[in-house]
Every structure is written in structure tokens, then in C-alpha cells.
Symmetry: C3
Subunit: 226 residues, 3 copies
């Protein structure tokens, strides 16, 4: 095991496919969340869908110090816009249902945490940074979405099911396998699946991360408590 | 028509003048909005004015992968600060009037959507990216302002008159003309005027973009609805 | 006095030590603020602590056009995480006390405004930009923290004691001394102390910056007033 050598990244085509799938899933999620929880118009649905879809990748690229990939590649914007508009026109048939949002969100989270960790390794960052950047790629878009619609982001709220933790585990599994030199494509698929399953089970059984010692579960700490 | 050749950008002096005019207009707008809708002090008025004025350009430059121009050029900060302080000291004479805010905002939007599209073309980006980056330059500063004062950004709200659409049309007109090789200065002026007129008429006659199918105009979707 | 020559920056070790101390203080502050004012879980406390601690430096580096230093240097993340977790596990013993939050916040503000100005000068920026970037480094992390927990940022609120002004004075003192060629280490210490003392006295005696003319102190301007 040679940690100092940059591990072989997942092949380009796989990375791109993962990225575009994640973009589509997050665009659906962001657009549906916008329709459900704020008075947005068609522009707002498009902005929220695209921001959720490509926001995490943009934050990752800014932290890596590279030009955000999204604007040199029209496919990202096209796929994000397609997902947002699909949700706009068909969302009224599903906007009372939490399930499609939860599944799209879990899919985006899983694909992005792996793609983000892969890109960090590709740029020569160490394993710890790769895991953290993977998780940021996964949760970043949804955090921007929540800031825009004026609610406490899912990633920090005690009333949300665990969200960053599956992303950290998925990114961690991929990074560990990459450092050990395991083949990229299989590793990426298994790591994303790991994150997806944990997130979906967490939503189903309402797994919450612990709050600070000395606070009770139902206790509202102040005016910002929900 | 040769789309692959990067079109001749508008001359530097025009770009700079457009930029500084837009900075001044948005600084007034951001500062007056802050005075009207939040309990801010003189620092808050300056921060909101400057953020509204240069925030869109900073987001554009980060997405283009270039160092934000604002910090290498003292004129941007000086003009933004002048606009914010003017609003601070004279705002109590106009803060009940929606008109100066609306006009300053429309002026900034018009000038920035054209300047943003011009800069994107200058850096070799394609027409689609130029239109989107132009619109982001126009709406970005106001979106940061709304996030800071804790309200749903104008650009996504169904209760706001159309805002991104005039910016997309202005940036689109400029980009189309630039791709066709029309002279930069005239094109920039006409495109900015197009955006300005559409935005002002939209505010006057309360043009809203459509909401998602299945929702009614006055319906509040949840706790975030206004 | 030779303004055009880039002044000798503070030595590397001092800069790093200042930075890490500021990171630790702001991590405590961000985590304790999160525990007090929102329903956050352990992930939320970590995110708020780390964001408050390194957010200002990341914004500064993006504005300088350099890769954010934080992700190439594991010490920043480790120190930030240590501060956040310390606050998570011990915060219930201090979360009713405003004093430790206020002191940690003043320490972070003081150290960051000087470190930010020093880095701007080191990169060849002029004195005005150095002062502004120093202040942004100081107040940026707390502003991101406030946006995430959905409240009006301290830096713009009229109901907060002065916050940006001590940072501007600390960054200004350091920049002036650096331009005059005074020795970096002493200058840095005295400038940080100046900012710290002004901020602590401002909190103790509730110094507020003036609001816009024509508004009264207790007046709520609208739905966003607190």
C-alpha cells in the first residue's frame, strides 16, 4: 500500500456518467423541494433544481482551486435543466409524496460523494481531504438550496435523518479502496450503493445523529428551533 | 456567421463604464433594501450595498475561474461604497418610495447582464454559457443581499415580478449580436435597454412568471410561503 | 515610506500560529452558537464550528484568487474539528454563559483580521484591499454561520455590538505598520490586541454603530426586525 502515490482515479467515462446521474437526481430533488416548501415560479424551480444539482460540484471545484467544470461542459447544465423542468411540469402529481424526493436525494448524495472523492484524489489531495470533499460535494448543493428557501439546512438540523454521515461513509469506502489500489469502477459502484442504502434506511427508520449532551430530543433551544 | 470564433468583445472602456454604472445602481438598491427591510446599522448598509453591487461579478469571475476583478481595481469598491453611503445618509427621504429602488435595481440588472455576457465571451465561453453567466451576473448580487437579510431571493419567488427573464433576454440579445459580429457598443446599449424596459414594465404591470401546475396564485404552500 | 514595494510580511511561523489560534477560537464560537440557537446534531455542530473557523479564510483566498489554504494543510481541519467537538461535549456546561462565546469570538476576530491583512499584503495587494480583506477574513466565517442557522448576520445587524469596526481597525493598524516597515511580529500582536480590546469593551458596554438617519433605536422596520 503506497499512500503517497496518487491512486489511479476511476476512468473518465464512469466519473462523467456518475456525475450526470447525480446531477439529474439532485435537479429533481431540488425542484420538488422548492415546489413543496416555498412560493416559487418557473424560474425559481429552475434555479433551485440547477443549484442543488451543480452547487456541490462548484463548491468542490472552488475548494480544489480549479475552474468549476460545469461551465465548460454544456451537458451538466442541460441535464440539470431537464430534471428541473420535468419536476416543474409533473411535480403536482408527486409533490405530496415524500418518497420520490427522498430517493432522488439519496441517489444524488451517493453518486456525488464518490465522484467528489475521486476528483480530489485525481488532483493529488490526501485521503482525509478526499473524504471531506466527497461529503461536501454530496451535501453542498442541498445546503445552497436550503439557504435559498430560507430554512435550516438538512445537513446541520437535528430533526433531519442522518445525511452527511452516509456521504462520509461512501466517500470513505471509495477512498480507502482507491488508496489500496482496488479497481475504480467496482469500487465506485459499491461505495455509492453503501451510501444510498444507509441513507434510505436512515430515512425509513428515522435515524438521527445525537444532539449535544444536556439537551432533550424534543426541546426547542430558542427562536430558531423547529 | 462563425460561431466557433470568439466574437469581438465590447471595447474595454465601455465594459468598464457599464460595470461601474451597474455597481453604483446596485449599491443604491442594496443599501436602500437593507434600510427598508432589516434592522441594519451603517456597517450593515455598507456591507449590503457593496455585496449587492459586486456580488454578481464575483460569482461570475469565480465561475469563469479568474481572480475576481473587484479587488485588483479600487474603483469598484470606491463606487460601491459611495452608492451605499449616499443611500445611508439620504435614504430616509426615499425609503418609503419603491420607485428609486426599482429603477436602480433595473439599471444594475440591465448593465450587469450585458457586462457579464461580454466577459464570458471574452474568455472564450460558448453562447449558452455567456447568456447564463450574464443572467447570473445580473441577479447574483441581489440574491446574496436577500440571503443576508434572511428573505426568499427575488429571483426565485413567485410573488416577485419577473427578474431573471429580462436579464436572460438582455444577455441573449447581446450574445446573439456578438456572435453575428455586430458592433459591440451599440449592441451593448440596445441589449441593456431591452432588459431595462422589460423589467420596468414588468414591475409596473406586475408581470409574474407562472408557478408550478396545480398550484393557485394566492395559495401558500407551507411555512415558507409569504 | 515606500508604498509600492510589497511590505515584508509577518514571518511564516507567526502567521500559521495566529491562524491556528484563530481557527480554534472560531470553532468553539461557531459550535457554541449553533448549540445555543438552533436544533443541531453532532454533524451540525461540527459543520458550524468548522465553517465559522475556516470560512473567513476560504472567502479571503477565493477573493485573492489562490487555492484555499485549508485543504492542503490538515492542521487547519484538525484544529477546527477539535474545537467543535470540545464545544459539543462540554458546551452544556457553558451554553447559558455568553462570556466564553464572546471571548472566543473576539479572539478569532482579532487574529484573523491581522492574518488576512498580512496574506493580502504578501500577495502584493494594496493597503486598502489589505484592510478590507483582513476584515472580511475576520467576519466571513461568522457570517456563513449566521446564514446557515438562518439569522441576520451579526456583521450587518443594528442590534449587535460593533463587530466589523474593530476588525477594520486591527487590520488597518497592522497594514499601516507594515507599509511603514515596522517589524511584523510585534506589529501583529499589538494590532490583534487592539481589535480584541475594542471588541470586548464594545460587548461589555453595548456599543452600537449608528443606524440610518430618521430611524429610532427601538423601531422595528418590518418583518425582518428583531
Amino acid at each position: 500500500m503506497d499512500v503517497t502515490t496518487a491512486p489511479t482515479p476511476a476512468p473518465f467515462n464512469l466519473l462523467l456518467a456518475l456525475d450526470l446521474l447525480g446531477v439529474f437526481a439532485f435537479a429533481l430533488d431540488g425542484a420538488l423541494t422548492g415546489i413543496r416548501s416555498a412560493r416559487v415560479d418557473i424560474v425559481g424551480v429552475a434555479v433551485l433544481g440547477v443549484t442543488t444539482a451543480i452547487g456541490g460540484g462548484i463548491i468542490r471545484d472552488l475548494l480544489l482551486g480549479v475552474t468549476p467544470a460545469t461551465f465548460g461542459d454544456w451537458r451538466y447544465l442541460a441535464v440539470a435543466m431537464a430534471g428541473a423542468l420535468l419536476a416543474f411540469f409533473l411535480g403536482h402529481r408527486m409533490d405530496r409524496l415524500a418518497t420520490p424526493i427522498a430517493l432522488a436525494d439519496a441517489a444524488g448524495l451517493s453518486l456525488f460523494c464518490v465522484a467528489g472523492a475521486a476528483k480530489a484524489l485525481e488532483h493529488g489531495f490526501g485521503p482525509a481531504q478526499a473524504v471531506i470533499l466527497g461529503a461536501i460535494t454530496g451535501v453542498g448543493g442541498g445546503t445552497l438550496r436550503d439557504v435559498l428557501i430560507n430554512r435550516i439546512p438538512v445537513v446541520i438540523s437535528r430533526d433531519s435523518d442522518i445525511y452527511a454521515i452516509p456521504a462520509l461513509l461512501g466517500a470513505g469506502a471509495f477512498t480507502a479502496a482507491a488508496v489500496m489500489g482496488l479497481p475504480g469502477a467496482w469500487t465506485a459502484g459499491v461505495s455509492a450503493l453503501l451510501c444510498f442504502v444507509i441513507r434510505v434506511v436512515a430515512v425509513r427508520y428515522r435515524w438521527n445523529a445525537p444532539g449535544p449532551p444536556g439537551t432533550r430530543r424534543g426541546e426547542a433551544p430558542g427562536r430558531d428551533g423547529r
